[in-house]
Symmetry: C2
Subunit: 337 residues, 2 copies
């Protein structure tokens, strides 16, 4: 294999100049950059990144821990993060934790072994005290998750407000029997949404007849199961906060298959404003989360922390959510569709 | 921070024994393993993986290159690969290439820098001659992709047969004006599906009135666009091979919004048998790809290649696809749904 000296010789430049070009050193003329590029290409020379990284003490790689890549919310978030990181010439490696605390710790090791420069945690199943020691090795930024005791940068959505608006909308449509669906109760996202839901209910408490809660609902299949559960309840709810568009789609399609009228008999609110929410009939009223904005902020914060190394204090960046009303909660919307 | 000596002292064992436990050496009693685990836990000792990996010359990590994680086919594939790798105690890192040849090469560098032990390529936008040099650094396995000249293990689906069956089904329903939708023509998956499509058409060539082709259709949004394109054609096709369930869902929902009858006026076949294919009305006739089987085979092959280092020859593992007929192509299916 060819060496850096071969490249220097072919390009007619010093070894130092070639090294500068490879390491993106400033103050190298475009002409020299070009000559080095041509020589590298001709010789098939690949700079030794391992050695280079060691010198620079940077992996130029960030790890993102997500619970499940098959969840469209997370796959969209990954895509946005990857594009944002790309603008800083950083590689992104994605690690799926499947909501397993031990997987989270396994992947946090990537920071200890210097395989990555920082970790974006979109999954937090461990107690904070088990994650905190890894800060010794580099920055960790929380994304879409939240831990009260974590003194690190956190970028999130205002889930309380989002769930409050969605629930208020259902109550304003006259619903008095409500069902709240969610994923794991351990997640702060779920806890915050529940707070928002309960706040709206509290404001209408004289009218609300009852409310029910169902946990561990994540996808279309779960949505179908939710429909069959409620259809066998003594008092059947008339409105569902589904926690996600996939769950909402499962509920709606199964309800229609059983000849229920949506939204007259059953109103459903999703979450995410996925393309899927336009496919069901009626389309799904949902809460839009500005994933792109969050992703760009997370990467911006991470880049700052990698450079300044000052990441051991709490900073919260929060984005607002927006309710998008469609046919699954308001009847005359169907005419517009 | 505590050292391996501290662990040995607390466990009342020799340093060598502790090291053996950490490195999963055989012939260590369960009792000793347990004592080491307790001591490590008590001291909060984390084995130095970097040093350990160096000794073992293994990263215990595999990289998977996929074009887009937002495509449900790839996110399902990633999930299955991750679970299969997990059984071998391997970590998976996922790299999104966005169909960009330069991103592919960038991530292939992970092999050269020993950050990973092997690479699973589910994305191949480069000419094989540009990928081939990386084999010097470790095994590469092609997954769901194919390159005639690549002398490496390849695990794939029989796309030719799958597309042939789907097209034959449309022809048997009496359709004579066909549209073939696909992603990039550069992909071998697309080329093979086109071969299958054309083979079925050739068998019915006396009856076929015409066929059209549309490229770069990937998601629901593209499906909607396809509908509007065909609705303005001079001769409107009556049957569409959509290339994916998302594209099919976009076509169907837009057709229905414009008061077309599916399947009477327009029959649509998807690909993937995603949950989404059950949500549209009617449900989508689709081609089921056994993603799990493929994923487990890929990991099995990769593990073998990492150990034996004999990976520079062609081996093809192929799985059959299955047509699942639903309401988007056969009218009386709707009664069953």
């Amino acid at each position: 294999m060819s060496t850096i000296e071969d490249v220097a010789k072919l390009a007619g430049l010093s070894r130092t100049t070639v090294s500068r070009v490879i390491n993106n050193h400033p103050y190298v003329s475009d002409d020299k950059k070009k000559r080095v590029a041509v020589a590298m290409d001709t010789l098939g020379f690949v700079p030794n990144s391992a050695a280079r990284r060691l010198r620079k003490q940077k992996a130029e790689t960030i790890a993102v821990l997500v619970p499940r890549v098959t969840n469209p919310f997370f796959s969209k978030l990954i895509e946005s993060l990857e594009m944002a990181a790309s603008e800083y010439k950083y590689k992104l490696i994605i690690c799926q934790t499947r909501y397993l605390p031990e997987k989270e710790l396994e992947y946090l090791q990537l920071l200890a072994t210097k395989q990555v420069d920082g970790i974006i945690l979109c999954s937090l199943q461990n107690k904070w005290e088990h994650v905190e020691p890894y800060l010794e090795h580099g920055p960790i930024v929380l994304c879409n998750e939240y831990a009260e005791e974590a003194k690190i940068p956190t970028v999130k959505f205002n889930q309380i407000e989002g769930a409050y608006e969605a629930t208020k909308h259902l109550l304003e449509q006259g619903h008095r029997r409500l069902l709240f669906c969610s994923g794991s109760e351990q997640s702060m996202v779920v806890q915050h949404r529940k707070m928002g839901f309960l706040r709206a209910v509290a404001e209408h408490k004289l009218q609300v007849e009852y409310m029910e809660f169902i946990e561990n609902a994540y996808d279309i299949e779960d949505g179908r199961r939710v429909f069959h559960t409620i259809s066998h309840m003594n008092k059947i709810p008339t409105a569902i906060f589904a926690g996600g568009d996939e769950v909402a789609a499962g509920i709606i399609s199964e309800a229609k298959r059983n000849l229920w009228h949506v939204p007259e008999q059953l109103a459903v609110v999703g979450f995410d404003n996925q393309l899927l929410s336009e496919i069901t009939e009626p389309a799904i009223t949902t809460v839009c989360q500005p994933v792109d904005k969050m992703a760009y902020k997370v990467i911006e914060v991470m880049m700052d922390k990698i450079v300044t190394k000052r990441y051991r204090h709490k900073e919260i960046y929060e984005f607002d959510l927006e309710l998008v009303v469609k046919g699954s909660t308001v009847k005359n919307m169907m005419m517009l569709a």
